[in-house]
Symmetry: C2
Subunit: 362 residues, 2 copies
């Protein structure tokens, strides 16, 4: 790890207090370039998922590095990105709440969105929204291939939805959305090939075939027919990505600066970052976050504003008042807790980046 | 449960989309009155913890019902409450980040705060902040009595901190802060009595002796010497409070309205509320939240924006497009994810209450 100088910690606490979120711009830029190069090499377009950073400024950095467009998970995120002038957007979820509230139509009037569906009900709502917007809406059919997330489970069901889209004047069939597990690439290929055959038979073409996920970069381009990849976490990385073997500590660009606020017991301590800061997402790991200055200390419990430290295995124990830096288990949910990211380079604060789309739930 | 009419669900989705947060004002008012009555009966002052609702408007309702003042967990919360004219505030944590950033002194210039400490380091920072503010700061000593949260572990250590406060012209000794477990009331009494004896011997008096927690209402007033109680969750209640036996479903005033956005498998479904809405706080319970319309469905996993439903035990399975209401496991962290609470009474939307102090991390 780059050893952050005492002076930077002092500057940060004097200007922002703790807990606060700090990103290392050199690492962010390296991570952006690396993702773009992996997509370039695999000859698929890069469409980063902005759910991780929720910041138009960082999305623009990704576009400037060569990304074709962006992926959002919520309409509210897309609204923020559209406000910033970004107009090539896939929203990768069934949007029912946003469609029924009229916000989908309102945004569709401003930006030609691409949205996703895995049911006829969703398509009905999209059709209504498009009619209200006054222009047809591009729809991708979301397909599951073993992960049991959103997405139809069979090519047959996908084809039925494609037919509904084809038959609806307010909807355009735009392609397919996959999120294969890293070990189910073959299964996805079988699903994909059968579906493409069916689409061809009804006169449809999948202009977009999207794969997703940072761990899936190991397989990017392996799906014959894929046209683009959407990954979010890789811009910052986190403890989950290290555990998955797709990032090292040196690739982690997001850190929570937190103060040790209590050492009431000999073997325990308390940070001022709890579940309202780092969140209770474990990502399947032991402990909540990696403490850079004390890797042998573990955050073994949270209250809302406190992280409880087990220091029994920690030789050089932190003292009250120390500021330590934590890499969260799951960076996407932790970023979402902050109003701003303090962007540093070479131990200097370069700028403050607002997390403009944080907490956009609809 | 009150059966919310179809019309209310429609109004809510048309005006706000999903997911959104809805509070029942009758229940909120009942909960506020009940907490006040329990304190009145026990002859201790009521100082509700606003970390649960983070809204000046709801804090004012608590004050109007008889609360003496409020408790905050973060300086940023206290800033929001002070902006709304509330001036009797305890901040119940060691404030190091806020003290060193200058924000503690800035707020102390406007409002006479009461803050907490469990170490000499914290007291040093408080003294500096008070000097910068130009007036002495009231400090409570935080004591642990078996929970291993913040707080000194022995009366002897508490007394040492009280002496430091006494010797510092910029600090006033204001009292003691306890958070006893429901089963450690006797232990707290022993700690308290020994400490009071010590304080008397150095000429100090604990004007405030605060106990805390919604589950601890069963013991409120039992600690001889307690002057006030601070509880947060009881304004809304949640699945944890039901599990703890201190609330019923009918006492739960906060619900997340969420759409069923996918039914891609026969035994499974997906809600548009995931860990960025309900949070991954389990509160030690199985599943994430209670679905009012489908109590035999379980939310068994989250992704960031999706709640995954296991419908294998669910006889009357929800359909795509259904709106269901979820009582979260832990309401305090879920409220913090929303920008606003939709306040309803008798199936009518009465007003929208901003969660002004949400995400105040420092």
């Amino acid at each position: 790890m780059i050893e952050k100088s005492h002076t930077l910690k002092q500057q940060i606490i004097e200007n922002f207090g703790t807990p606060c979120a700090v990103i290392d711009l050199d690492r962010v830029e390296n991570n952006i370039v690396r993702a773009q190069q992996l997509c370039d090499k695999a000859q698929v377009a890069n469409r980063p998922h902005i759910k991780t950073h929720k910041s138009p400024l960082l999305a623009q950095m990704q576009l400037d590095a060569g990304a074709k467009g962006i992926t959002c998970q919520k309409l509210g995120e897309a609204e923020v990105m559209a406000d910033a002038g970004i107009d090539d957007i896939i929203i990768a979820t069934n949007l029912l709440g946003a469609a029924r509230s009229g916000r989908l139509a309102a945004l569709q009037r401003r930006v030609a969105l691409k949205v996703c569906a895995d049911s006829a009900v969703t398509l009905t709502e999209y059709s209504k929204a498009a009619r209200n917007a006054g222009r047809a809406l591009d729809v991708l059919v979301e397909c599951d291939t073993g992960q049991l997330r959103a997405g139809v489970e069979t090519p047959h069901e996908a084809l039925k939805l494609a037919q509904i889209i084809k038959d609806d004047a307010m909807l355009n069939f735009a392609g397919l959305l996959f999120y294969p597990a890293t070990d189910s690439w073959q299964q996805t290929q079988v699903f994909h090939d059968e579906l493409i055959k069916g689409l061809t038979s009804i006169g449809l073409q999948a202009n977009i075939v999207s794969t997703g996920g940072t761990p899936n970069f190991v397989n990017v381009g392996k799906l014959r027919g894929a046209t683009e990849h959407r990954a979010g976490t890789c811009i910052f990385n986190d403890r989950m990505m290290i555990a998955a073997g797709v990032a090292t500590l040196n690739d982690c660009a997001f850190e929570v600066y937190t103060s040790v606020v209590s050492r009431a017991g000999a073997e325990r301590g308390i940070l001022d970052a709890g579940s309202k800061t780092l969140t209770s997402d474990t990502g399947g790991l032991e402990g909540f976050g990696y403490i850079i200055e004390h890797p042998d200390a573990s955050i073994n419990k949270f209250s809302e504003e406190h992280g409880f430290l087990d220091l029994s295995q920690c030789h050089d124990k932190p003292a009250v008042g120390d500021i330590v830096r934590v890499i969260p288990n799951h960076v996407c949910v932790s970023v979402n807790m902050f109003e701003q990211l303090i962007a540093v380079r070479h131990n200097k604060i370069e700028k403050v980046i607002p997390v403009t789309a944080r907490g956009k739930l609809v």
